[in-house]
Subunit: 536 residues, 2 copies
């Protein structure tokens, strides 16, 4: 992904700003007066969607897409560009052409393997209060990932650095409505490629206490990630019933998994960690142009990836991922936040339900260059269908700009507001005698004489500060007041909020035994990995 490699000298993870002393933190806390309203959005251990899932497909159409995927795996096959993978497939009973590294499989066997995957599972966090159930009607929001450039209004757009990376981690930790710490939040261009993964995980678990991810890209990175997880959880987590680690696998569409992804799949699957199997299909480039075809292909690729994991370790946790959108036929660039992407998002969810699998979709996808109206409406064209369709794991739920090339600190804040609104929205509304309040209606003018308006009633007063979602970003003041306060647009207000959160950030507690052991591992591995080609 990283195109401009501006790596600088080897620096110890401990020399970064990751872990200020706890005395410093306590002192800072005492001085503090304000606490950002964003940080006070309630954290919910479970967020469930009480509404019926939005579905695009009729039962017949769903059947057509299933049948098409079955024909693809039976008659065309999927390439697995890795000798070990071909052996695994052969042992599992698939028809393997070792020269082409092409795998065909009967639908019976495929579906039998897919059926071994759990319909839901618990993803364990180092702070156990942040464990997250994945599947069913649960919804979880994860950060951005796989991004090249960082952007804020003060410094503009630039290739990401480790400082940016850790700042995004801190921002994530400050936002209770984000449930997961993703990986590759932005490429840290000032860290050599060969050990970026170590710095990512080190930051993810020292600066945040949420369930976290690390990219399963090849056997080395994935192997290190599993070893670090063992240190973080101080146990052989590969023997646990529930995973503690996971990452995204993208097929190299059309109809292909490359060796890098396969290495990661094998390593995580053997360790029983989460694989989010996500075909990256852009209709018109990596599949036929029609969305029907793109999602049929997505379905074949996803099911083959999932079956592959189950062939390695039956019951290992997987998530059916959808990341199908379209190409912009004018520019040739990927398009996001489109009507076609909304269809694909909902169709993926419907298919995942058919196979009794958790579903991963996306949140803040858009192609705007700045956090403006287009960024916001395309984002909503992604997040609304994702939520409505019952997406369980929403990746990139904050921050995207520019088709995912850039992540903006201000856009993160803007998107967090919508996530907080969705959290409230999914909370559902209570209807009972107290909330219907017919007796109150009868007391207020014109029906009664006790109160002039509903502002004044004890019923309203008692619920004054808790009844409604209270925004931290939206400006609802009148025009004159808004102007008096500087006529700031949304991005400018978001910039202030981000800076306040940065000031107020506080690292979550970490068992004293863990950090030195983790640091030692990272420092040792960094020396070992100098100059090593990771993706084998």
């Amino acid at each position: 992904m990283a195109s401009s490699e501006t790596a600088t000298a080897h620096t110890s993870p401990a020399s970064s700003s990751a872990a200020p002393s706890s005395a410093d933190r306590r002192a800072a806390r005492r001085q503090r007066r304000m606490v950002s309203p964003l940080a006070n959005i309630p954290f919910k251990q479970r967020l469930t969607n009480p509404y019926k899932p939005f579905e695009v497909l009729s039962a017949e159409q769903e059947e057509q897409l299933h049948e098409a995927a079955m024909q693809i795996v039976e008659n065309i096959g999927i390439r697995f560009l890795d000798a070990e993978a071909c052996d695994i497939w052969e042992k599992a009973g698939a028809k393997v052409d070792h020269d082409l590294q092409n795998v065909k499989i009967d639908r019976g066997l495929l579906l039998e393997l897919v059926a071994k995957a759990p319909a839901q599972f618990n993803w364990i966090a180092r702070n156990r209060e942040r464990n997250r159930l994945i599947g069913g009607n649960d919804v979880a929001f994860c950060t951005h990932g796989g991004v090249i450039f960082a952007q804020d209004m003060d410094k503009g757009r630039r290739p990401g650095t480790l400082e940016d990376y850790y700042n995004f981690l801190k921002l994530n930790q400050s936002c209770p409505v984000l449930h997961f710490t993703g990986d590759q939040l932005v490429v840290p261009h000032d860290v050599p490629v060969s050990y970026r993964h170590l710095r990512r995980t080190y930051g993810a678990v020292t600066l945040c206490d949420k369930p976290y991810m690390e990219a399963p890209h090849g056997r080395i990175i994935a192997g290190d990630a599993v070893k670090m997880a063992k240190i973080i959880f101080q146990d052989d987590i590969t023997k646990w019933d529930s995973p503690v680690l996971g990452g995204i696998i993208n097929s190299s569409s059309p109809l292909r998994y490359d060796d890098r992804m396969i290495g990661g799949m094998i390593a995580y699957a053997r360790a029983g960690q989460v694989l989010i199997i996500t075909p990256f299909v852009l209709a018109g480039a990596m599949s036929p142009i029609t969305i029907a075809s793109a999602v049929a292909q997505q379905n074949a690729e996803a099911l083959m990836g999932i079956a592959f994991v189950q062939a390695i370790r039956p019951g290992s946790p997987v998530i059916y991922g959808g990341f199908t959108s379209n190409i912009d036929m004018k520019s040739g660039a990927p398009a996001f936040g489109t009507p076609e992407g909304a269809w694909a998002m909902a169709i993926g969810a419907q298919l995942a339900r058919r196979y009794k699998l958790p579903y991963r979709g996306s949140g803040s996808l858009n192609t705007s260059k700045v956090p403006d109206a287009q960024a916001a409406y395309e984002t909503m064209w992604t997040t609304w269908p994702a939520i409505m369709a019952h997406t369980n794991f929403i990746m990139h739920s904050v921050g995207w700009l520019e088709g995912g090339l850039t992540v903006s600190f201000e856009k993160c804040i803007i998107d967090m507001e919508s996530l907080a609104m969705f959290q409230h929205f999914l909370g559902g509304l209570e209807i009972n005698e107290a909330t219907l309040a017919l007796d109150v209606m009868a007391q207020v003018e014109p029906a009664g004489t006790q109160y002039k308006t509903h502002f004044e009633t004890p019923h309203t007063q008692a619920r004054y500060s808790t009844e409604f979602y209270s925004p931290f970003l939206a400006d609802r003041d009148n025009y004159e007041l808004w102007k008096e306060r500087g006529a700031l647009d949304t991005a400018q207000r978001a910039n202030k909020i981000y800076k306040q959160l940065h000031e107020e950030y506080e690292a979550p507690p970490l068992d004293v035994a863990i950090e030195p052991e983790l640091r030692e591992f990272v420092e040792r591995r960094e020396k070992e990995l100098v100059g090593v080609e990771l993706y084998t």
Copy 2:
């Protein structure tokens, strides 16, 4: 509504820029090279929602809200602040307290009256190709209405003028995805209050050919509107089976209709024209603070308004309107684009379906001061639930800012893009052998050798320019190209599009007999109405 009355001299409607000569227009057309892509979005005579409606209420909750409304109308009653209305109610069999002007009614009688309203009807346009079916799974988009200030990036925010008004009409006509011409697009402060309605309708039918609205505010305005409709349609439209005219009625919540609204209701109902009965409930101010209570009250008020219309003229077309949102408890200002508003929108649709009535919701509601990210995400927090819940008539579907105090030309363009996207989205996707294209998959690498990528296949090439929604506003170019082109944000690009549309605007043909007759009516009435108090 209009607070700053800056009326200037009486000017003839014909002196406005409403109707350039057709020779001028033809000449301009010849010179023209570009045609805005916005104007080329396909016009659809019907736009239907193929998906299941999104519902917030369980069956039991729906029953609770029905029951609550029944208790309100039976035990508390609704005020109808008009002597004639009280007489109408008494004749219909309701229990009327003439001193209080309070009406109570048994649920049996209420529901019997409501059942007389048509479940769907055809709203006739002067261009019959633009007639619109209202109800069922059909969706129609209408402009903004009831706005004080106009805003664009060139001239900033200012009290609206007749020129602004006519420019919004022209913009509406240029956009095929808007189906209705609303009224009160912006207050024309330079026109005396007593004949603004005449100028509104004159513009609406000379500058646009869509089905149109005129505010049924009092007997005089509504009466003039019916007379003008007779001229426009050159017939006694009050005897037609289908309406040609309509407008919004707001209750004066809580539990009250004022004389102005009642006058309009009586006039339009007697003429068989459309009444969109929309309680304007802000939870915490005009109803108890809980959304459960607010929608229960909305339900009682809406049903009483609808029953009143049916008592006047059984079968007269009505639309059940929902406009419930919440108060911002920090500023005391109305909040829009909120999770609570999204609930209320969907609940209104569900209740309207229960009573077999068409439903009116809203589209672009937000509280931002400029067309920025907040404006866009709050707008989507209104439009998405409106669409998903099967709203039939979407009012304010473009242009709002500042809680509806301001309408922005740029925001209109921004919102039109989302409407066009929804039009595509609701078109649904086809799944068949040709769109699944499994044969094509087998021809492209790695599965086949015929084509390197899907870009090149005849299947893609044949669908290249038609398969996807093609945006007129979203920028999908790469960062460098975007920068080279001026690094324009969405609002700046929208400004250019608006100006291009303004240049390219062409008035729709109008029967030569109509315009002079209409002008004569307007000129005569304007003289008659000087100094007249309209709202009686």
